[in-house]
Amino acid sequence: MADPIISFEKVNKWYGNNFHVLRDIDLFVAAGERIVICGPSGSGKSTLIRCINRLEEHQEGTIRVDGVELTDNIKAIEQVRKEVGMVFQQFNLFPHLTVLENLTLAPMWVGKTPKAEAEERAMQQLTRVKIAEQAQKYPLQLSGGQQQRVAIARALCLTPKVMLFDEPTSALDPEMIKEVLDVMIELAGQGITMLCVTHEMAFAKAVANRVIFMDQGQIVEENNPHEFFDNPKSERTKDFLSKILGH
């Protein structure tokens, strides 16, 4: 693989002294690749993607994002965070700011974009996630699905090269999952690098180039979705798939 945009080399992470949450992770992501990460709860999948923008720090190994190695160097971390957008399970919109202010905050304060330009770009992103008419509302006045779409738009406002999704549909009512997935599918068609922790297997089949299955802090199996779902190699993967697809 030529010049991965994200690389993990022998990465280990512990919570405290005894909880070994990531074990010898090796992972290379090419620019434009769309990866779905799945696995049982506590398998380290969220921790893995949170290491990419240094919301979690690792203790061993090397992580590089777009050529920058993640260490304690704050400048490097801020550099990486400008290139990496993130969408959270709990949306994490800023409730004291309007939808529009949520979107313009980072461009104005991190990107030093003038207000008028930031607002114009924000409105484009809101239009893209089909929520432009709610720009002046406060986040808590929106439905869960709408909030998550705003969160996606907010992450896109810094025009990141990589988008991380941490179980973006897990906190949503069933009816609202589709509207968020539609936005993500649309995004996948535009060549942005995506890493998505999710249990939406239909989404994985539709958009992923690669599916990664994790258990107990390790990458158990990775393959293209076709092979992964129809012809899983490991017993653990088969067991997991039978549980989430079996009904």
Partner: protein, 367 residues
């Protein structure tokens, strides 16, 4: 076969639930126990209110006449004492012929405070106004320029001193409190320990002892003649004392902010200070407005303790005014009621203002 929908015409409720009489019925005579309480309280009011009015209004002496007051003792209030001692109570020991100076200075300061409370004026020029008015206050009070007689700070007193101590105590303590609250949650052990030690030390001693130290102990450690002004020392004492309490109130708000808010801000590339300023503090402070206002009101009233170090603010000036005059000394109750009224006006205004702030901040939280 399809049925035709026929709307039923709206009717009024059979028992009225809105209006004066229903309100009385539900709130005053809701059951036998509440009826009993209502009757007892009404009987008490019938018994007490006429006596109170008699004392405070009908049999009271309003003129500054000591003999008339003496004659009315025990029967009617002597409001004349306030007329007689008004200037001394309000301005303390400030030289009589120069009392127009604290009058103007305090009026300016109060006007500045009122303007600062109004949202429409939250513009950059407000900061300029502060930079102008605050030195002007001290120049007017202290004198020594433009032919104004110098008045040393130990002669400042009464309401101007109370308002001045409270204002600067609050204005200085608030930012310190925020920094200390953030420091106590810092990842850096040195900063965190420093903030904890500061808060715990201050909370471990009463304000009076802080004032004593500022006033009497501190000069002992300074070279002779180099001690900062007593008023300044006391102001620093009040500020540091209040900041410790305020810091804990602010920390309560900081702890209520979900971790996800900080993570979202970080993932957008905001720095630590940007995150605190734009995301954490606006939400944290909004949550603890009632607690913050509690502290502010406490600071305002705690200024009365500086009497202990011979600074005669409102309470001290009142005692001074009446104790120094045997003729009027018996009418302290009226004097205390008067200053209580002044304190109440300020504290009630602050409490109403905090309700308004809460209402303003609550708008983003309504669905």
């Amino acid at each position: 076969m399809s049925s035709v929908f026929e709307p039923i015409k709206p009717r009024t409720a059979p028992i009225k639930t809105e209006g004066l009489i229903p309100w009385i019925r539900t709130n005053l005579f809701g059951g036998w126990s509440s009826t009993a309480v209502t009757l007892v309280l009404m009987a008490l009011a019938v018994y007490l209110v006429p006596r109170l009015l008699d004392w405070a209004v009908f049999k009271a002496v309003f003129a500054a006449n000591a003999d008339a007051c003496q004659a009315a003792r025990g029967i009617g209030a002597c409001w004349g004492v306030i007329v007689e001692k008004f200037r001394l109570i309000i301005f303390g020991r400030y030289p009589y012929e120069d009392q127009w100076r604290p009058e103007i200075a305090t009026a300016l300061l109060v006007a500045l405070l009122i303007v600062s409370c109004i949202r429409r004026f939250w513009k950059p020029w407000l900061a300029v106004l502060w930079i102008v008015v605050v030195p002007l206050f001290f120049l007017l009070m202290g004198g020594g320029w433009f032919g104004l007689e110098p008045v040393s700070t130990d002669q400042w007193g009464g309401l101007p001193l109370t308002i001045m101590l409270a204002t600067f105590g609050i204005v200085l303590a608030y930012p310190i409190a925020i920094v200390v609250a953030l420091g106590r949650r810092s990842n850096l052990p040195a900063i965190r320990s420093l903030c904890i030690v500061y808060i715990e030390l201050i909370r471990g001693v009463p304000l009076i002892s802080v004032l004593f130290m500022a006033s009497f102990l501190f000069p002992l450690f300074m070279p002779v003649g180099k001690t900062p002004d007593v008023l300044l020392r006391v102001l620093v004492g009040i500020t540091l004392f209040s900041a410790a309490y305020l810091a804990e109130v602010v920390r309560g708000g900081l702890q209520a902010i979900p971790k996800g808010q900080v993570e979202a801000a970080q993932s957008l590339g905001l720095s630590y200070w940007q995150t605190q300023r734009k995301i954490v503090l606006p939400q944290a402070l909004a949550m603890v407005v009632p607690g913050i206002m509690n502290s502010f009101i406490a600071i305002f009233k705690d200024t009365s303790l500086v009497t202990i170090v011979s600074l005669y603010e409102l309470t001290g000036a009142m005692s001074l005014a009446l104790n120094s005059d045997a003729e009027w000394r018996p009418f302290k109750i009226e004097g205390y009621l008067f200053i209580a009224f002044i304190y109440f006006i300020f504290c009630f205004a602050m409490s109403r203002y905090s309700l308004w702030i809460e209402h303003q901040l609550g708008r983003s939280r309504t669905r």
